[in-house]
Symmetry: C2
Subunit: 505 residues, 2 copies
């Protein structure tokens, strides 16, 4: 099967996407010749489009033509007027509940069970939590020492992660939206990769006091060091090292065991998307997601501003009106949040998305939603909330890669799958991140950063199901510790950017 | 001169501050006996106070008594109702322009001149700027290698700092308030400690594109690496190391020379304050600030929410109505920002401030303003703006220590002086931070973190002028590189938390 020059997704579409750079005068479909050069991933009109006519891709209106566009032309951002986002008042819930999901090839993985926790860990890590950014300098100095001098004695432990963040003091801790960062930090303490072993460092005068951060039964001297109670820098480092050693000894006893898929939680995210993301990497991720859900796993997909324009499609997949109402609640919250900051809808996509052929947020949204597959949406989570049941969740978070990641991490994901078209070296410190690219060119450009290539879908060498299955296996291998993702192997990770929609004081 | 048990600041004050823990039944002034235990740094009533009567400290109304308070009692937070902050509509400007500032003992320091820049550098550092958080993982990996393998060959360079931040993508880059983080990052590129040598790492699809970040003449391939243009992780690291080596060779030629004080910019901040901060550390800092200003230096003090209640006092010190109007503009901006986030005025002080005896934001503000000394306010800066003239500036920033610090750094300070009562190990990566404590007990507790102790002012062993002079000398020694502050010597620094009042998308 050869590589088509263009991909038309739905029959009713009046644009197709170029699979590679196409010169003017090329016959791309029988009888259809390009009137100008079309860069790879950009859209080409399949027939004449009148001024004001809808431009359709994925069978969805991306926008309306500002002027007449002749057949065979490039369609770029400024040629479309953006449609209004779907209203939140008249959505239909439960109209499209999929029942035929693909069967997973295996039903178990190997993880670390955590007493009292619904999900298993994918790694064995000493997380050192912090109440406030003030302590970061001292903690980093201590962690350097721990990694060098103590960790090597505990070979069953994968690493030590200082959970530094920008929250904790100089914040409006009673502001209504403070619940978001506080919940995120509280839930990070419970992350299964930290094995229920609690260690925290605070200062002693912060607003996010230890009793706010830690579960009540964990807030005790054996788990907490307050720097203001220590006699100088030397003793601070010594106290942190001594506590870390006690915790490492406990973590060193953890062992992996075979666990059902119902004990695995996976996060899906995309970033640096291009026009192929919605054809290759994201649908393949959606296929893997469907298999995971069929096998009983919990899957999170996110990014409010990137699904906002397809909210009617998500609403139809919500299993109940109760879940649908949560979806509306989260969308409405974000609409208001952006409006208060005077953000217009053109803030997303990014310049890179546009270079990648994405004309506007509607087109990006359709691609973004593809990663959720077809499974029913069993529940909707507020940012950084923990799931209460297995299955597919819409976890409301910002679309910003490095803010979405920590939110999903706080929800408890043991592994994240990250689809990209333009490429980003994004990573998280406490869990593996598996990268999936949308085009062969990116895999060739970044052979040692992209874990799974969905590009063969474009060239016709593989189907979406083929890549979906490949990705499913990669998820299981990586979650089970039999494989490391590239980002993990190199130790590439981003700062833990906690979402704080409340003011700084 | 012995240690008084209590300190009364102004004659009209009806409360004093305990210099140490005082038991009930102790005669603290002739005829005045404590009715209950008074912890160190807390306030004691000097006479009976009726319900509704003003409670005065610093000659200023801290609040109104909610109930009758007998003489000799502890005054705590909940016993005061908070007064309204001064209105912004009827302020008087220029009514109190000090002319007699103390003379500095020296008029020069040793710094690194930077061509075309008004201020000299205090350190010689390779700053590697970033357009976006996405690149942090790769950059950190490269910087580890640079520090290990390349930096030792350039002994005249003090260090390599990756200027990682949470901005750059997934942000509302056209939102009105986006100007704040963008200005901060743009001005950091120009920081004198980086010597005008420009190096930046971007991804290639971010919203904060390199042409937005870098000055127009600096945005060229010899200064910029875009990771999406590199062939994989290995080449990314190699490209960063190679560029760093070229830049280090240039920086290695920098030399210190004697510079006038007019080429030194100093930031003042306080954090983890207690009721002594306003009596010892902050007034001593104010004295040093007055000497610096008299000598022609540029001094920044900040923290909007901590001066808001004393804005009428600052207004009187503004040199012109033009400057006064800028002060009002910044206060009004912050009032609105907090109001939109539904923050009430009790969000500051922190629990630690309260433990330290600070009843409310009025009391904290009076102590905070003391660090600005008495010099006229020559100008007011928006967050992260660069000064245009020498002298004392109010640089509007959040009060959060680790957010104020990066704002002042972006304004261009070469050294920061940090006053604390409770103690914090806060630090910045690119400049030295000198810590001044308000009490002997903190110096005893943290002997290897506190650089200057203002506690002897309480015990009567030193005057404010004595400590002010000591601090002035410490500033000059440290700025000139003849001394390192403790935080600098240990390499303690906080994350670069850039103030972003705009939404995340």
């Amino acid at each position: 099967m050869g590589q088509a020059r263009c991909i038309q997704i739905k029959k009713e579409d009046n644009v197709a996407v170029a699979t590679r750079d196409i010169q003017a005068g090329t016959e791309v479909f029988p009888g259809l010749t390009t009137k100008q050069d079309i860069p790879q991933a950009h859209k080409i009109t399949l027939r004449d489009i009148s001024r004001g006519e809808a431009i359709l891709r994925y069978g969805v209106v991306l926008g309306y033509a500002r002027d007449f566009i002749p057949e065979g032309s490039l369609v770029s951002e400024h040629m479309l007027s953006l449609p209004e986002p779907p209203g939140l008042d008249s959505l239909t819930f439960g109209a499209q509940i999929a029942v035929n999901l693909p069967d997973p090839p295996v039903m178990s993985w190997e993880g670390y069970e955590v007493s009292g926790e619904a999900y298993g860990g994918t790694r064995n890590i000493l997380g050192i939590h912090t109440t406030v950014q003030c302590v970061a300098g001292v903690l980093n100095a201590a962690v350097d020492k721990i990694r060098r001098e103590i960790l090597p004695r505990y070979p069953a432990v994968d690493g030590v992660v200082p959970v530094n963040h920008a929250y904790g003091c100089g914040v409006a801790i009673h502001a209504p939206e403070a619940i978001v960062p506080i919940r995120a930090l509280q839930n990070l303490v419970k992350h299964p990769n930290f094995g229920g072993i609690i260690m925290a460092v605070g200062l002693g005068c912060e607003k996010l006091t230890a009793d706010r951060l830690l579960p009540p039964d964990a807030n005790k001297p054996e788990n907490l060091i307050l720097l203001q109670e220590q006699k100088g820098f030397g003793q601070m480092v010594a106290a942190i090292c001594a506590m870390a050693e006690r915790k490492l000894a406990l973590l060193n006893q953890r062992k992996r065991s075979a666990l059902p898929l119902s004990k695995l939680m996976i996060g899906f995210q995309c970033g640096g998307s291009d026009a192929f993301s919605g054809i290759t990497a994201n649908p393949a991720a959606g296929y893997a997601s469907d298999m995971l859900v069929k096998g009983g796993a919990t899957v999170l997909f996110s990014e409010v501003t990137e699904v906002r324009d397809g909210v009617h499609l998500l609403a139809q997949r919500c299993v109940s009106e109760e879940v649908g109402k949560k979806l509306i609640r989260e969308m409405a919250w974000y609409d208001r949040y952006l409006q208060e900051g005077s953000v217009d809808r053109s803030a997303n996509p990014t310049p890179g998305n546009k270079k990648g052929g994405l004309a506007n947020i509607v087109e990006k949204a359709m691609g973004s939603i593809a990663k959720s597959g077809t499974a029913p949406i069993i529940d909707v989570l507020a940012p950084a909330e923990r799931p209460r049941r297995v299955g597919l969740h819409f976890a409301a978070t910002p679309a910003s890669d490095f803010v979405c990641g920590p939110c999903q991490l706080a929800s408890g994901i043991g592994i994240q799958v990250f689809m990209t078209g333009r490429g980003t070296p994004y990573g998280l410190a406490s869990i593996p991140v598996v990268k999936v690219c949308s085009r062969n060119e990116l895999k060739e450009q970044w052979p040692d950063l992209i874990d799974v290539n969905a590009g063969p879908v474009i060239t016709g060498e593989a189907s979406i199901a083929d890549i979906g299955l490949l990705l499913f296996r990669e998820i299981i291998e990586t979650a089970s510790g039999r494989k490391k993702s590239f980002a993990e192997a190199y130790g590439l990770y981003n700062d833990l950017c906690i979402f704080n929609p409340a003011p700084i004081t």
